[in-house]
Structures are given as C-alpha cells and as structure tokens.
Amino acid sequence: MRRYIEIYSIMLRNSLIREMSFKANFVLWMLVEVLWFCGQIVFFSIIFGNVDRIGDWSKWEVVLLVGTHQISAQLFQAFFFMNVSNIPELVRTGKLDTLLALPIDSQFAVSTKQFGLDSVLNALLGGVVVIVSLAHLDIVPSVVSVLLYMVALAFGVAIHYAIMLALAAVSFWIVRAQGLVYGYFNFLQIARYPDAIFPRAFRFIFGWIVPVIIVANIPARLLVKPLDNPMWLMLHLTIAGSAALLISRLFWRFALRRYSSASS
C-alpha cells in the first residue's frame, strides 16, 4: 500500500510539471469546461423560465444538482479520465505490454499516470455554485449531511470510473473504437438531470445496473432534501457504487486475460 502511495505521488508531481509547461493549453481547457458548465445553467434557466419545478425539484435545487454533477465529473476527469480514455490507444499501439510488465497492479498502472489540475479548479467552480444555491435555498446543512455529501461524491467519482473502465476494456475486442469514450459522455449526460423525470424501469436500470442517475442526484438530495431518508440513499449509493467498481474490475481482468493469451 505504501509503495502505491509513493508511486502515485511521483506521478502527480510529474504530471503537474508537464501541465505547467503548457500553460496556454491549460487555460483553454479550463475555458472549454466553463463554457459547458454555463451552457447547462442557461439550459435549465430557460426551462425554469417556463415552469417552477420539475417533479420535486425547484430551480435552485436543480442548479445545485448541476453543480454537484460538475464536482464529481471534474474530480473524475482530474484523476482518471485521461488515463482510462488512453487505454484503447495503449492496446492499439501495444504500449500496454510495457505497463503490464511493471511490478504493480495493472489496473493501477493504467489508471494513474496523468492528473489534470485544471479539472480540480473546475470542480471548485462546481463547489461555488453549490454554495450559492444553498444560500438561495436558505439551507444551512448540518455537519453530518456535509460529511455524507462528501462520501457520496466519492462514490459518484467511483461510478464514473467504473463505467469508463468497463468501456475501455471493450477495446480489447474492438480496436479503433474511440466511440467508446464518446459512450462515457453519453451515459453521463443523463446524470445531471433530476431523477424525478425518469420512468420506473429506466430509473431501475440507470440507478442500479449502470448507476449514472445516482451519481449527482443522491449527493444533492442528501444536502437539500432533509425529508428523504438519508440512510436509504446512502445504502443505495454504497451498494450500487461498490458493485459497479467490483464488476468493472472483474471485467478488466477478464479482458486482460484474453489480451495476454491473444498476443502470445
């Protein structure tokens, strides 16, 4: 365990140095993300120009939901996105073999090389939006619900990661499939919508099997809906999140076994 922490801190330092040597690119990427975030807010403000609520979600509750999604998506992007989305390329070019030969866990090796500081800043922007929404809603969350919120966010990031890893592992079968990365964005697009809009079957599939709906909805509910049962929400997130992580890991190892046997 200590060895992994040491390796990870070296990688973090390296990628920070690399990132700071391309400052213009760094600023531009931040700009892209800010644009997307603003676009989301504009979209919902147009909708809320016409209605007062969507299901049991009011305007500022939805803004808080979008901000929450921003935090978990950007934290995922900061730590894992670039690495996992690079897996298909590693497979295609055969560079994966070098990583597999390292005396560390293969999933760790492919998941941790780069780190994006710009995404951390964008996650902070999401945090500011969450705080502004709380002020508009006149809610002062208790220490317990803030703690639960943070734990829930971590599970959200884990779900992002599990979905992306599972999609990337498919590239062992389909080479030339950048479309898989595109699939991640498609899945996560529904994560920022209020859960109340989805019919029951859809909510079951995307709440338990590919649990994207709960990534932002459950943390947001923990903060702004004190009447919901937090125990049940946490239980849902914990079970679905852990299952997603576990299944994606099993799938990764299964895919890897096939890859190793095919190349020998």
Binding site: L31, L35, F43, A177, Y193
Partner: protein, 269 residues
Amino acid sequence: MITAAKYAAVFKLGLQNTFVYRWNYVLRAVFGLIPLAGTVFLWRAVFAEKGGGMQGYTYGSMVYYYLLMILVSNLVTPTEDEWQIAADIREGQINSFLTKPLSYLAYRFCIFLSGRLVYTIVTILPIALIFFYFRDYVRLPSELSTYFFAFVSLVMSGLIQFFISYSVSMMAFWILEISTVVFIVYSFEYFLGGQMFPIDLMPAGFQAVMKWLPFYYELFCPIAIFLERLEGAEMFQALAIQTFWLVALWAFARFMWKRGLSHYQAVGG
C-alpha cells in the same frame, strides 16, 4: 472529365477508409440513444408541469425537433475529419499533395462526402427505428416548396460544417495539439447551434444575435425551415445569411490553408 474521375477515385478511397470506423459509428449511434431518452424524459416532465405549449412547441413537436436534430447531424456533421486533417499536417502527409495536381480542399471534401455516406448507411436503421417509435409526433411539411428550401439549407449546412472543420484543422500548422480548439468550437456549436435546445426558445434579444452567427446555420436553420417555424420573408433572410456564411467560410478555409502552408514551408525551408 479527368478531374471528375480523379475525385471519384478519392471518394472511393474515402469509402474504404471510413469503413474501418464502422464500429465507431455504430457505437456512437447506439450510445446516442441514452442522452436522447434523457432529453425526451426531461421535456415530458417539463410539459406535464407546464400543462401546455411553450413558445409554439408542444411535447410532441419538441421530441420531433430532437429526432430531426439527430438525423440532420448524422447527414452533415463531420466526425473524424478534423483529427485526420490535423494528422496529415502533423505527420507531413500533405507534402505529397503539394506536388500533385490535386487540391487538398477538394480531396478532403470528397473524403467528407464518403464519410457522411458510410455514416448515414450504418446509422440509418437505428434512426429509422427511433422515428418509427415516435411516429405519432412526425409532422411532414404542408407545402412542397418547404422540402425544397429545407434541402437547399441542408446542403449549405453540410458545406458550412465542412469549411469550419477544415479551417479549425488548419490550426495544426501552428500548434501541435488541436483538440482544445476543436472542443471550444464544438461547445459553441452544441449550445448555440441548437443541439442542446431549440434556439427559438431563447429570449428574443439572444435570438436576434444568434441569427447572425454561423452556428445557427450548421443544423438549426434547415430543421426550422422543415418544421415551418421559419417561413416567408424570415426564411429568405435566413437563407441569404446562410449563403453569406457559406461563401465567407469557404474563403476563410482557403485563406487558412494558404497561411498555414506558407508558415509550414517557412519552417521547413
């Protein structure tokens, strides 16, 4: 005649090359269903809450709008072209074009056309199924002329999108990694081009500005004409502005190529 044969050969080559990407295309089409479902459910909830129309849209026409958006963007939006052009420039593939009696712009345009053809063929079945599923919301134009103007606008949309992609890719002459620029342009296209929501839902002041930007003419204009939301004098004005952007972006694409090339040769020489 020889010119025609030359570019027909490029077109055929393009067909073969894009066929490699067929899995990409299938995956894109299938995964694209998830956000579509999300959008449909979102608007269903909004219209149920509102209990009536919204700026002339009903739940049915809103769903239909997004279906047309998918269809039209499959027909005219470039998918891999930017990356391929950037790679051609970065890896020096364009050297071979400088000595050939072949315009790189025309060459890329043939590749673009063949790419759109393969993409459309691969994705037509899932799209037809979605249209069938929502068949109750499909409304065809009442007048024959609408088909004609929508088609003219559609063709211009394709050309505009191609010229924008081409111009953006030319940035590869100056910078190593164009993905940031591509995504910035894409973000504008997504929000201001009507992919996220119909532009005519925006406040009137915004719309007046949007009408003069090229993004309006990348997807939204042909759809609005087809839905008969843009009619009469307003439609002719839109077509005129679209023609202006088409010519301007074509000139810009050629300008970027020239500038890029002189930079390239200056560095190489």
